[in-house]
Every structure is written in C-alpha cells, then in structure tokens.
C-alpha cells in the first residue's frame, strides 16, 4: 500500500508540474503581445513597451515562469495588472458560489443516478428499463445550459417560484443564496445524472452477472439483499473512477451554468479576465482548477486502493 500511495503522489506532483508548463506556454506563447492587446489599436510602440515592462512581461519567458511558479509555491498567486487585487482574494470571493454549486450538482446527480441506474439494471429488457435507457440517452444529449434555460423558463418565468438568475450573497441572506442556487444546481444535477445513470447501470449490470452475487444468494441473501450488500459495494469500484473522471466535466458544466444564471462565480471571473487579457489572473486560476482536478483524481485513486484489496496488494 505504501508503494502504491507513493507512486500516486509522484504522479500527482509530476502531473501538476507538466500541466503548469503547458498552461504557461499556451497562455504566453499563443497569446501574442499582451500589452498590445490590452492597449488596443493605435497604441504607440513606446506605450506598449512601457506597459509590458510595468507588468514584467518583457523578461525572458523562463524567468517569468519560475517567478510565477515560485510565487505560487509560496502561496502568492499574483495580482491583477489593472486593479492590483490579489488573485487569491479574487478567487476566494468567488468560491462561496462555485463550490456549493458544483458540489451540490454532483451530489444531486449521484443521488438520482445510483437508485435509478440500479433500477434500470434490474429491469433490463422490460418496458420500464427501456424507457429509463431512452430518458438517459436523451438527457445525455441535452446541453446543460439549455436545461438551465428551460428550467428558468418554467420555474422562473411561468411559475415565478424562483429567481431566473442573479445572486443574493450568503452574508445578505442565506435563504436568498440557497434560492438563487436551486435552479442552477437542478440543471447541473439533472444533466450529471443522465450521464451517470448509464455508468451506474452498466456497473450494476456487470456485477449482477458475477458469480459472487449468485454465491451471496446461495448462502441465504434475497435477490435485493445480495444486490445491495454485495453488489453495490463491488459496483462502487468502477463508479469511484467514473466520478473522478467526471470532475473535469462537472467544472465545465459549472462554468456554463454560472453564465446561464448570472452567478458571480469563479468561471464568470475567468471569462471577464480572459477578455481583459489579465494573464496572471487567468494563469493562476486555471492552475488552481487543474490542481483541484488532479487532486480529486489522486483522492479517487487512493480511495480505490482502500476499497479494492486487489489493488492494494498487487500494485
């Protein structure tokens, strides 16, 4: 187990390093002259150079990279060129929106997908199983933002139950914050569920055909008991992996949903800073997101090691 954990940790650190280089090169390399873009057409070369110098963008690329990464390692994510705000402050301010949104979306997706997927697996070949398969097939094809638009049309515009967008901060009214999150979470969760149902169904179906499930019944469990006590524990192994892989998808969905419902989350901040060519802000935020995703995958791998004794002893 120790070697397994060590291997995963080394991969984690390596992945973060490589990703940081890739992000840096992508943003700086493909980005063209940042200062020129910021100043717009008609700026004099002198003005552009002066601005580049004041941003520190005229130094050699590798110096800038190590400067950035060194600062990140010491906890300094950099500052916005224009407002001089600290990136860490910008990010933390937005997390109170983005984290509850993404997390509740994922949890809602799982809460729907696990029972529905299990039910679908148990009813393969029956009309109800076929209908569920069709619903999830259609659900997978629905873009998350369209789900958001439709839900806000229904519950916000037609019924008037919930706000169609906008944000009431937690500090102003926790209830208001919850209300502004309901529709975004619902959209995100339903679409996540559609994707996850297919995975749950196939994982459970796979487990249902395993000999050990028959053994569980042969020693006295009922069909349902065997599925719940032995089946789900075994089916959770592939599911843990799937949830890990879906994290990247989840973040993509959160980015879009924040726009649909005009929530002041991390991704809205990103979009604004992308438009303004705030390279340091974008770079650091993207890096944080990537560290988060790779970190979740590390946790998933470790969890897998705990859940599956075969991984523990063989790798």
């Amino acid at each position: 187990m120790a070697i397994y954990v060590l291997r995963k940790l080394v991969f984690f650190l390596g992945a973060i390093f490589i990703a940081s280089v890739a992000i840096f090169l992508l943003i700086r390399g493909a980005g063209g002259n940042v200062a020129a873009v910021v100043l717009g057409k008609g700026a004099t070369p002198e003005a552009i150079n002066a601005l580049a110098h004041s941003y520190g963008l005229d130094r050699p690329l590798f110096v800038q990279y190590f400067d950035w990464i060194g600062n990140m390692l010491s906890g300094d994510l950099g500052r916005s060129f224009r407002t001089n705000e600290r990136v860490s402050d910008l990010v933390t301010a937005r997390l109170s929106v983005s984290i509850p949104l993404a997390l509740s979306g994922l949890i809602l997706g799982l809460i729907i997908a696990i029972p529905v997927g299990t039910y679908a697996a148990r009813n393969v070949g029956t009309p109800s199983g076929a209908i569920l398969a069709l619903i999830s097939q259609v659900g997978v094809a629905v873009p998350v933002f369209w789900a958001g638009i439709l839900l806000s049309l229904l519950f916000g515009v037609r019924l008037g139950w919930l706000p169609t967008g906008g944000w009431t901060d937690w500090s102003v009214s926790p209830w208001g914050a919850v209300r502004s999150l309901v529709l975004p979470v619902l959209s995100l969760g339903l679409i996540m569920a559609a994707v996850l149902i297919r995975y749950v169904r196939s994982a459970v179906l796979d487990v249902m055909n395993q000999d050990y499930l028959r053994t569980a019944r042969a020693v006295g469990m009922t069909r349902t008991e065997a599925l719940l006590k032995v089946g789900l524990r075994n089916a959770s192994l592939p599911l843990v992996t799937i949830v890990g892989l879906q994290i990247a998808e989840l973040i993509g969905g959160t980015v879009i949903i924040e726009t649909v419902f005009s929530l002041p989350g991390l991704s809205r901040m990103m979009l604004a800073n992308v438009a303004a060519r705030e390279v340091i802000v974008v770079q650091s935020t993207v890096m944080l997101i990537i560290i988060f995703v790779i970190g979740v995958n590390l946790l998933v791998d470790l969890l897998y090691g705990i859940l599956d004794p075969r991984v523990r002893s063989s790798r």
């Binding site: 395993q210 000999d211 050990y212 028959r214 053994t215 569980a216 019944r217 042969a218 020693v219 006295g220 469990m221 009922t222 069909r223 008991e225 032995v230 524990r233 075994n234 192994l237 859940l307 599956d308 004794p309 075969r310 002893s313």
Partner: protein, 338 residues
C-alpha cells in the same frame, strides 16, 4: 460407503422437474429421489441440463428461466417458495458449491467475514462465536494457518484453498443437502483429489446428502452410491453406481464409459484410439423426434426415431427401446480409480 438411513425423510424428492425459458426447454421432466445422507452423481455432457437442474433446485436460475414440477425438501415444495422464504433455507438446509471458487467469492471482503456472516445469518451465534466456528471449519477443511486465512482476501490464497473455503461456507450450517457443481473442474489436477477427499469426509461426518454434478465418471465412482445420467434434458439411465458402471443399459451411458481414458487405452503409438460417441449433443431448439440420442446411437430403430422411451421403474432404470442386456458386452470398464 454408508448406506442411506431409512428412518429420516428423503433429502430431496424431485418429480417431473421442467426448466424452461420463453423459447427453450432445457430440463424436460426428470424424477429422482435422494434419501437422507445419500450420495447421487449427476452425469452428462455440457448442455445436457445438469447445471440448470442444480440451479433450479437452489432457486438460483438465471434471469428468464423458470422451473416447474415438484421438488420436495425438508417438508416443503421448493418450486413454490417465494424468494424470501427460499433464501432463508439456502445455506441452512440446502447449499451449493460452485465450479469456479475465485469468481464465486466476493473479491472485496475478507474470507473470515464471508464465512462467519453465513453462520450469523442462519444461527443466533454472536460475532465471536461465528468466528470461532469459522476457524474450526477451516481446521476441518485442513486449511493451513486458519487464523491468518480469516483475514485474507480471496485473491490472496490458492485455488484449492478457495474451494475449501467455499465448501466450508456451504457446510457451515450443517445443511441436509449439498449440491456440488463440478467442484474441481477449475482446479489444478494436483489438488483436485485433496479437495474431493475433504468434501467427502465433511459430508460423511455430517451425514448430509450430496448431489455431485460432473462429467468426470471416476469421481462419481469414488464418491456416490447412485448415479443418474442426463442427456438432452432427460435422465436416460439411473441406478447404483457399481451396477450402472459395470453393466450400462443405455447406449449413451456405454458410450460415455467407453470414452473415458484409462492407462491402457491411451496407447502412445496411436494404434488404439479412444472411443468417442459419434455426432454432437443436439442443440436444445432442434432436438430430434423420438429418443433424443437416436442420431448418435448404433442400435437406433424406427421406434427410436418416433417415440420417446420412458424411464423404467425399479432399481436399475434406463430410458431406451433397446437396452443393453447384462452380459451382452462385458468389456465396459470405467477408470474407477479415483
């Protein structure tokens, strides 16, 4: 071999058992009785319906399959039991040992937990008592270092050990009947004998009935007192093992016995060839009319092609229009050395 005691009720009484799904009928009306403590072998090629027979007795038929008929066991008709009522018997009065012990054990649970939870399910034993009983079972199964084994996972032990764990699990609650479906087929030849000996002893000590399903005739010869030969979903011959193997009455049984390799008919120079039954087991959806074996039978007549022979009654039964009479062919010798 102990003769079955007559004062106890039969372990199993099967009447007219039919197993089918929506298009196929795999077991087509079989009858037999297994007395308490009796040992019966069920022989047949793959596709003869022997595994589906076993699974129907356990109420564990795969999805889409259904059993009809009567299966009396411990005073109830198993066929009519609900899943809930049936499940309270499985592992307690009737249990089963499966073919592949690796895939049959839960890969993510410790072995000790898997066995002791069967005991706790069916008895009032506490966790400690159940674990103590499990340890004792492991000792009876001659499993090495039973204390360590308790904490092991299935993938960490050998195939022979796993199958002994499966046997321990099946015997944990002293069932009246244990069904073993090809229990050694997935094992290395070197440990097959050991596992069989342990199964044999454990069954004998407990006085529980055994139904041994295999295509390996020497195993039947060594472990069972009666044998039923299945072909295409029917029992074609049944009787005491020694008599059936010495003087088979059905041509299929004779073919099976002739095709068993023994040391003298495996001539390495290729001059003598192992006998085999011509043709193949017919697929279930296109069984021939009349006796299902007639296309492969040398003695087949027009009657065999038209009418299904019924199983005779009495001690030695065969379902054949032209049974082999005793003494007609004395060369039959099974490799009964196991």
């Amino acid at each position: 071999m102990t003769k079955p005691q007559t004062n106890r009720p039969d372990a199993l009484e099967v009447q007219n058992l039919v197993v089918h799904n929506t298009v196929l009928t795999a077991v087509r009306g079989i009858d037999f009785t297994l007395p308490a403590g009796g040992r019966m072998g069920l022989v047949g090629e793959s596709g003869s319906g022997k595994t589906l027979t076993a699974l129907s007795l356990m109420g564990l038929l795969p999805m889409g399959w259904q059993a009809n008929g009567t299966v009396r066991h411990d005073g109830v008709d198993l066929i009519t039991q609900s899943d809930k009522a049936f499940s309270s018997r499985r592992g307690r009065t009737i249990s089963m040992v499966f073919q592949d012990p690796l895939s049959s054990l839960d890969p993510v649970r410790r072995i000790g937990f898997q066995v002791s939870s069967v005991i706790r399910r069916h008895t009032k034993a506490s966790k400690q008592e159940a674990e103590a009983q499990t340890l004792e079972l492991f000792r009876q199964m001659s499993l090495p270092r039973p204390e360590q084994l308790m904490r092991a996972y299935p993938h960490e032990i050998s195939g022979g050990q796993r199958q002994r764990v499966m046997i321990a699990m099946a015997l944990a609650c002293y069932p009246q009947l244990i069904i073993a479906d090809e229990p050694t087929t997935a094992l290395d030849v070197t440990v097959q004998k050991q596992v069989l000996r342990i199964l044999n002893n454990a069954v004998q000590e407990r006085g529980c009935a055994l139904m041994m399903i295999t295509h390996d005739l020497p195993i039947i010869a060594a472990m069972c007192d009666t044998v039923a030969v299945m072909y295409a979903g029917r029992i074609v011959e049944m009787g005491p093992v020694s008599e059936v193997f010495r003087a088979p009455r059905h041509h299929y049984t004779k073919g099976l016995l002739d095709s068993q390799p023994t040391m003298d008919n495996i001539a390495l120079d290729g001059s003598s060839r192992l006998a085999s039954i011509p043709g193949m087991v017919p697929p279930l959806h296109s069984l021939p009319r009349g006796c299902a074996f007639h296309p492969r039978c040398s003695a087949a007549s027009d009657r065999c092609r038209a009418e299904v022979p019924q199983l005779e009654t009495g001690q030695r039964r065969a379902a054949c229009w032209h049974p082999i009479e005793a003494g007609a062919d004395a060369t039959v010798q099974a490799g009964v050395t196991a």
